[in-house]
Amino acid sequence: MTERTDPLWMSGNEAIALAAYEAGVKVASGYPGTPSTEILENLSRYEGVYTEWAPNEKVGLEVAIGASFAGVRALATMKHVGLNVAADPLFTASYTGVRGGLVVIVADDPEMHSSQNEQDSRNYAFAAKLPMLEPSDPAEAKELLKLAFAISEEYDTPVLFRITTRIAHVKGVITKGEMLSSSVPPGIEKMPAKFVMLPGNARARRVVVEERMRLLRDMAESAPYNVVEKGDSHRGFITSSVSYLYVKASFPEAKVLKLGMCWPLPEQMIRDFAKSVDQLYVVEELDPFLELHIKAMGIACHGKDLIPSQGELNTAIVRKSIDLASVTELFAPVALPMRPPNMCAGCPHRGIFYNLSRMKVFVSGDIGCYTLGFLPPLSAMDSCVCMGASVGIAHGMAKALGDDAKGKVVSVIGDSTFIHTGLSGLINTVYNGSSSLLIILDNRITAMTGQQNNPASGYSIKGEAANAIDLEALCRAVGVKHVDIVNPHDINGCRKVLDKALERDEASVVIARAPCVLIPEMKKAANIPYRTQMASCTGCMACVRLGCPAISWNPVGPEKAKSLGYKEKQKGFALINEVQCNGCGQCRALCKFDAIVRQEA
């Protein structure tokens, strides 16, 4: 076996961060979102690149556009649904073009591992008239991203760069590359005809956009990343992104046209390829994007008639979709209890959702760890659509139902999501006067994506001190008269405040404030766990119904119950795992029999 000297073993996101650094990116902005988050996290560790977490993807892209106008290479990162938020600046940045190279990375999530939908962002390239590059693995992502900046500057265009979960979170072998730099001089350049998109200017730029796309189509015909791989011409495959890997693994002998740029398409190359094979297959995840455009060229091909358009593909799906004879028999799955994700032991959100589960209200939820409040045993969320939607949806329900909704509609949103797009919903609630209650779950961090700082945290992406928004003052400033701050771990105290807020005829905000247990300060803090006084437990299950992962229910029969000193009819006892317990005390508040005590007692 040969010893390899220190190969770089990196995830797609780490490789992209390295590529951005090597490409000479000077400004990068974005909002966390799985599977894109680690790009900016990693890039923030390189010298000479300014990085930041923006309050949302729209602002992130606008920051990158500004940096590009100033003549430096700029990057915006987001997940697929984030591109919806950033779509407004994107469509017009297509008209303005760039000065410094501008790349927008969008991370799609086929299979919805950590998302609320599985939209296919390639459609944005078509709709916004922008080139889009699509790597298939981390090593290719690194090479293509560097080319993307060159394309952006040469063709005066923002470049879309699409990855998926199986590129972002796949690790592979990477090689370091050379440092590049832009030939664009940084500085203030007034170019109103290019940068001021009033109708008169925009009509002129509209023509430029079409000319640019024509040039890009020509370029695509000879681009080094659109490649025909020789092989058996009985079956020919046109494919891109990670689907290319599944094609290579399932049909290694076949002839393949691999597209590193999925828009615009190299029409002549596709026509020539189609003519050179007996049967043409287009293999792509999600929408029939390539297939529709290839069929529009008048070329017959197989595509979504065989390949699923929902969920992720893999080698087995690609093989058996095309070659039915290849199906092999698998071991049957065994029925097991599900192991869904759960809020952590000591999570402050649990206290609020416990209360909500006992109040007869419609809970308009939002996107974050707290969306897990939907799951049993709390089951305390009734809707969840997109970032920030909880507030507007609650207001809409209140307006639709009038008095019938009074005291019955609550919206729940995290600190980061409130800042992202929830605030404008609250402004609307106050301006247009509904009495719906908003609970802001302020845990000081953007938790679900892995504890990123946000404008309410008091820290920047690099962990340096930054302004922390005063959420209470912000709510008052938009006109909310009733703002209460509660400790979500104090279950009984919270309930009183929530009940009172629901009785009001005006908008109320309750800020439930307690830090995420996963932030470094909390991990370091002295933690005094609770324990169960076995003799006092009556088996009432009040603590078990919190759904805390540190509390388990231990069923016993009559004999065992007696031997433990319990009444014969006691069905079991609850037990706290003291290693897992974070000492939040929510269960202590629910125990009427003093069976839960602090360790030290």
Binding site: R4, S114, H169, P333, V334, M448, W553
Partner: protein
């Protein structure tokens, strides 16, 4: 060279699966293989069932293991040894940490922990290797090294020498935890030797 293989890691979020799969990946790279590894982050991680998929060979295309083609499964929790059964084939080896972590429906008393699941997979012609990783980690003095005990246990099923893993562990864990991790690796290796 010429060999190729697929290693599936399964367990519960927070058990240290990612570090264990990283050590394995670095060992395979040090031996000259190409490799790819798939992980799942984000929502799925919060105490849920998690997997990592590691593939190696002369040239690896797909980052995902095909159902029926996992050669080795490293299961960090007993029930999670069985959840991905369709990924295994007759002759696969499953290395199981015998620790039980109760899923919510069991912890809240709605259902019971499935017993006898390992006998079922043994009966299908799958080799099962039991490792008391938690106890072994406690014996070496640090319960958080259970994941490295598992690396030791799986290491005997791959062609690399122990020294390759030991070098990687030494280089990748903080100095003050180096010795305890090397002991954890040795303890795991002994189980399957």
């Amino acid at each position: 060279m010429g060999a190729q293989g697929n290693i599936l890691f399964s367990g519960v979020g927070g058990q240290g699966i990612l570090l264990a799969s990283e050590i394995m990946a670095y060992a395979l790279l040090a031996a000259g293989y190409d490799a790819k590894k798939s992980e799942v982050h984000g929502m799925a991680q919060r105490g849920g069932s998690v997997t990592a998929q590691l593939r190696y060979g002369d040239k690896v295309y797909s980052p995902l293991i095909e159902p029926g083609r996992a050669d080795i499964q490293v299961a960090f929790e007993m029930m999670e040894a069985v959840r991905y059964l369709p990924y295994l084939h007759k002759g696969s080896t499953v290395i199981v940490n015998t620790q039980k972590i109760l899923p919510p429906a069991v912890a809240t008393g709605q259902t019971s922990y499935p017993e006898d699941v390992l006998n079922h997979i043994s009966s299908l012609g799958i080799k099962v290797v039991l490792v008391d990783a938690f106890d072994l980690a406690r014996e070496v003095g640090e319960v958080r090294t259970a994941n490295v005990v598992m690396v030791g246990a799986v290491s005997t099923f791959l062609p690399m020498d122990a020294s390759v893993y030991e070098g990687i562990i030494s280089a990748r864990v903080p100095a003050r935890f180096r010795d305890v991790n090397l002991q954890a690796f040795a303890a795991g290796r002994k189980v399957s030797q």
